[in-house]
Amino acid sequence: MTYSYFPGCTLKTKAKDLDDFGKKSAEALGITLEEVQDWQCCGAVYPLAADEIATKLSSVRALAYAKEKSQPLVTICSACHHVIKRVNNDMQSKEDIRTRVNNYLGLDEAYNGETEVIHYLEMLRDKIGFDELKKKVVNPLKGRKIAAYYGCMLLRPNKEMQFDDPENPTIMEDFIRAIGAEPILYAFRNECCGGYMTMNDKALASKMADKVVNSAKIKGAGEIITACPLCLYNLKENSKGDLPVYYFTELLAEALGVK
């Protein structure tokens, strides 16, 4: 299977691990991730204002590319996934946005939201299956107590993201089980870590990161995994807590023996 793949800005710079391990693991699972040609930064923040157009164009370019290839578009960074998925929803359901974006882009064929946008974790769950993944694990992470940190972008708003139950998600825990480790449930796994504030209010960002890390620690977690480079940075650098934080792909690669 070959899927189109949108790595996003940070995966090419500070979060190379997330990208490398993601690609290697996919390869091990029999999937080729083909990078979208000339992709542009998604903007990292979904433009909430109902009348924004320009800030949605880069996402639509990537989506249209995948449509041409007739492939689902796989994302891996939570922020990219959030932005591209919601822009795709807009292209499906909001006529004014669809018309204006298509007028602007002047593609050979108008783009109407045909591409299926899936996050890497959804690919594992829905395209490969966690049972299947479990069979391919050569190095189960036995005895490791891992807390999944979902953050905001993957889950909310649920009526658009349709990722998992926004208050009681299970996909990352199922993933942790599939790679042979023990998932740790804690209350703050779906609360904001304050990553966006890291530029202009570090104190706030670290206060919020502490809350998340402590919440996981109380429940006995030995490490935290996340899908978001910004969350990773914030939980790791801005919190006083001493839990190691990894990208989920790193542990996946480890379990599959391709690290």
Binding site: K159, D165, E167, N168, A187, S215, I218
Partner: protein, 662 residues
């Protein structure tokens, strides 16, 4: 040619303010067939009806059109008026110029024009009306009550006391319903069991009441006065006649891993069980999904321990067929799914519970024997937080749009009972609004605040989590002081929305009773016919119609019973004459109509017909007017146009179309 009278009602200013009633009279008085037209302030009043009667006699009218409110409101009234003046009641048509005209349009010219057109359509129709004679049907003098909670029990008792036999069909092994699970009741704080169980016993012992417990309604056919109902009596694997309710078997059953529904799954029960001590009937029941005997063929301890020899593993489901004249739906409610609201950690922490679970914890027969304990560690709590409106009053996919009505009062009750019994426990209530309409209700709530020092906080809770000490932290807001509230507490109680019971959709479909967008059964009129379903012969009792507390449920149950008694007291019912009818000369006996009829009202006979002098025996459709409901499906399906519907004939509807499009 008909002689038609047109009567335009002002409905006070309801119609007259937006429709120029004089202009309507003027516009219709020269319509074909019209020989009299007038308007009056209130046509439905005695004077108005008198006016119609006089005009019928004076002008020798053969048909009338009343331009007034919806026919759903007063068609029956005016038909009766016509009948009193010697006119066939089906020679009356209503032009709905209130709900469909004056109330929705502001421009007087526009509304008047529309009223005239609606009147013309009605006149065109009445020109083609023919006198119809309603049929008669017998009434089976027996009532069915679906659901054995307080609503069903009360309805059944009232009907039975009036002298008619009643069957209660209850899906669980005992009657009693949700009320049996409650500890105390507001606003008097008397014990629920103490007032409910005598009624349960009374129902069981009443000579006119028969209880089918552990049974479900399987199919309903027929119509008002003549319902044919199939009841499935599920196999409980215990002979009801032999079991004495000694409960030896329930104590000895080794399969004890499954939750006890009566205690909201806070503790476990055996596979053979009696839901609670005062169950009616007090007969054990085997849950075959949990029973070791049904899984492995071994065990059989209950059978061996039963001195009455009542256990019977070979019992089968049984279908009972019974005729009824009237049906009361009293299917009640259930607690809505709070797992969707996991910001409150209900699925994650045992100390986050619903209010119904708290009822069981507070109850002497409950999982903690009535001692208030944290379910996580069985310790005495120091603080309790109540969260109101969980799942009520929202417009998102996880919310109900309505107010569940009972939560404000039961939370005040819980708060008060806890403060009374355990003065050391601090009670906090997060509320959006406190709604306490009802006799002595607001006084009750104020007592909780003023005498029992319950801490009411106006605002919602956003998140609950377990903190370092293993207690719960509640993050909320106090809107009155506009500040964040962080409370450490031991228990969180969610006032979960209530919703109609799961099976109600299925039952409504069987009864062809309509339900609203929230699955509550619809009443025939929201104000004037609140206990009747729009389907004749089906009555509504209790929360299946909308959220209500016990006193309201009991009053509604009584009202529904009176309606049933009123129906059963009649020997015969008048049936609508608006039924289908096949033109013998046009029918080609193709059976198409038979296949679309939902009531099996059409069959075929071989009959000699005289087709323009040619006599021959043909196979033609025959409609049984007692079974026909008059939907008209057959009239459209009929390829030769032989089938028509009295009162809504092809020509009549075409004439209305013509009049509107003129």
């Amino acid at each position: 040619m008909q002689r038609i009278g047109v009567f335009v009602c002002w409905c006070g200013s309801n119609i007259a303010a937006t429709v120029d009633v004089d202009a309507v009279v003027e516009a219709v008085k020269n319509e074909p067939g019209v020989c009299h037209a007038q308007n009056y302030q209130y046509m439905c009043s005695e004077a108005g009806q008198g006016l119609i009667k006089n005009a019928i006699k004076e002008h020798n009218l053969t048909g009338i059109v009343v331009c007034s409110c919806s026919p759903r409101m007063h068609e029956a009234t005016f038909r009766k008026t016509a009948e009193q003046a010697g006119l066939n009641p089906y020679m009356v048509e209503i032009a709905n110029i209130r709900e469909h005209c004056s109330w929705i349009h502001k421009d007087k010219k526009e509304a008047t024009e529309k009223a005239v057109i609606l009147a013309r359509a009605a006149i065109a129709k009445v020109n083609l009306n023919t006198p119809l004679r309603p049929g008669e049907s017998m009434v089976t003098k027996r009532a069915l009550v679906i659901g054995g909670g307080i609503a069903g029990i009360q309805s059944a008792l009232d009907i039975a006391d009036a002298g008619y036999p009643v069957d209660i069909v209850e899906k669980s092994p005992t009657i009693g319903g949700k009320m049996a699970q409650l500890d105390k009741t507001f606003p008097t704080l008397d014990c629920a069991a103490c007032i409910l169980t005598p009624k349960m016993v009374e129902a069981a012992q009443h000579p006119n009441i028969n209880i089918y417990s552990y049974s479900e309604v399987e199919a309903v056919t027929g119509f008002v006065g003549n319902f044919d109902v199939k009841i499935k009596k599920k196999a409980r694997f215990v002979d009801e006649k032999k079991c004495t309710g000694c409960a030896v078997c329930t104590a000895k059953c080794p399969s004890r891993k499954g939750g006890n529904e009566f205690n909201c799954n806070l503790d476990n029960r055996g596979a053979i069980y009696i839901p609670f001590a005062q169950a009616v009937p007090n007969v054990a029941c085997i849950d075959s999904t949990r029973c070791i005997h049904f899984k492995t063929g071994k065990c059989g301890i209950c059978e061996k321990s039963c001195s009455a020899g009542a256990v019977n593993f070979d019992q089968k489901d049984e279908i009972i067929e019974q005729k009824y004249g009237a049906i009361v739906v009293a299917t009640g409610f259930q607690i809505s799914d709070v797992t969707k609201f996991d910001e409150f950690q209900y699925t994650k922490h045992p100390d986050v519970i619903t209010s119904l679970e708290l009822e069981r914890i507070m109850n002497a027969a409950g999982p903690t024997k009535g001692t208030l304990l944290r379910m996580s560690n069985k310790e005495h709590p120091k603080d309790i937080v109540f969260i109101q409106c969980v799942g009520s009053r929202g417009n998102t996919c996880r919310d109900k749009t309505y107010c569940s009505k009972i939560c404000c009062m039961y939370t005040a009750k819980h708060a008060m009972l806890i403060r009374e019994k355990y003065p050391d426990v601090n009670v906090h209530v997060f509320y959006i609004d406190v709604r306490t309409p009802g006799k002595n209700f607001d006084e009750f709530y104020r007592r909780a605040v003023e005498q029992y020092n319950v801490d009411y906080i106006k605002g919602m809770v956003g998140k609950v989590w377990e903190n370092e000490e293993g207690r719960l932290t509640v993050q909320g807001v106090d809107l009155l002081s506009n500040r964040r509230i962080m409370l450490d507490t031991d228990m969180v109680v969610l006032a979960a929305a209530i919703e109609p019971s799961e099976g109600v959709r299925n039952i409504a479909t069987m009864l062809t009773a309509s339900i609203d967008t929230n699955d509550f059964l619809t009443e025939a009129h929201p104000k004037l016919r609140p206990v009747e379903s729009p389907t004749a012969g089906v009555f509504l009792s209790g929360v299946c119609q909308g959220p209500k507390d016990i006193p309201e449920t009991v009053s509604q149950a009584g009202a529904a019973a009176v309606k049933v008694v009123g129906l059963l007291a009649k020997d015969k019912l008048v049936t609508s004459p608006c039924t289908a009818n096949a033109n013998e000369l046009m029918c080609n006996g193709c059976s198409t109509c038979e296949r679309v009829c939902p009531y099996g009202a059409i069959d075929y006979i071989d009959k000699e017909v005289n087709d323009h002098g040619k006599r021959e025996v043909r196979r033609i459709a025959r409609v049984n007017s007692a079974l026909c409901h008059g939907c008209g499906a057959c009239t459209v399906a009929c390829p030769s146009g032989a089938m028509d519907l009295q009162g809504f004939s092809n020509r009549q509807i075409m004439a209305e179309v013509d009049a509107i499009c003129k």
